[in-house]
Symmetry: C2
């Protein structure tokens, strides 16, 4: 299995509400058969009914608990940009779960949850450079 993530699908309870949230953030979705696709920089973010997603994946779903166990990160180039994106997310209806502030790794970050409780971290990490196109460069830490 090659090391590659192609799409990430977030299960949602109200597709229109979820899509509207991401569009207020400035993302542009395309809907096909009650599924919304967003280009997210080489990977595709998908919104789909949570019940369909569970059924399609062959897993039981007893409903949302407190935490997905998964956090998505959107990295930016400065602490100021963290503040700006966090403010934009809050204005778009996100619930801030961690206000913008310094991080233990010497960066600056904020966290919010989307209308379905999926958590995003907006992060400025001086150790992780971004390419011109915004994609992240994983450093060679010299460890294994």
């Amino acid at each position: 299995m090659e090391p590659r993530l192609s799409l990430i699908t977030l299960g949602v309870t109200d597709l229109e509400r979820a899509r509207a949230f991401y569009e207020r953030l400035g993302w542009r979705g395309q809907e096909v058969e009650e599924t919304v696709f967003f280009e997210a920089g080489g990977v595709v973010l998908v919104l789909w009914g949570r019940d369909k997603l569970a059924l399609d994946s062959g897993v039981a779903d007893t409903g949302r608990d407190s935490f997905d166990g998964v956090v998505l990160a959107h990295n930016v180039r400065s602490a100021e940009e963290v503040e700006q994106v966090a403010a934009a997310a809050e204005a778009a209806g996100a619930t801030m779960t961690r206000p913008p502030g310094e991080t233990f790794y010497g960066g600056y970050a904020a966290c919010f949850s989307d209308p379905d409780g999926h958590v995003w971290e907006i992060s400025y990490n001086p150790g992780f450079a971004l390419r011109e196109d915004g994609s992240i460069i994983l450093p060679d830490f010299g460890t294994d």
Copy 2:
């Protein structure tokens, strides 16, 4: 907020077990301060203690429920490759949640969960081409 996913962090209860699973799949991790980073094709997959991840994100965690509400997809170029990757995942200790088979969208896919219950779909979708480097091309569906 630009449309970009930088990292995805999976909360795990046993870091070594989780890392060993992904390395059996052929991925190569780097560990820094009890965090394991994998290059995953322009996005970074991270394994980190679930308790630390929840705390760091400012969310309560009452423990894992049946389903994250999130599915990660690894797209491949043929139905045969789905079978091969599914077999490799099972040999690496994955729990198959959906055996390889045809999909409603005219493709071929299988799903498995990792040792912490995070779900992956291995998918051949003839509608989604892959670039030479394996990255996915989101088609223009002509919808909005």
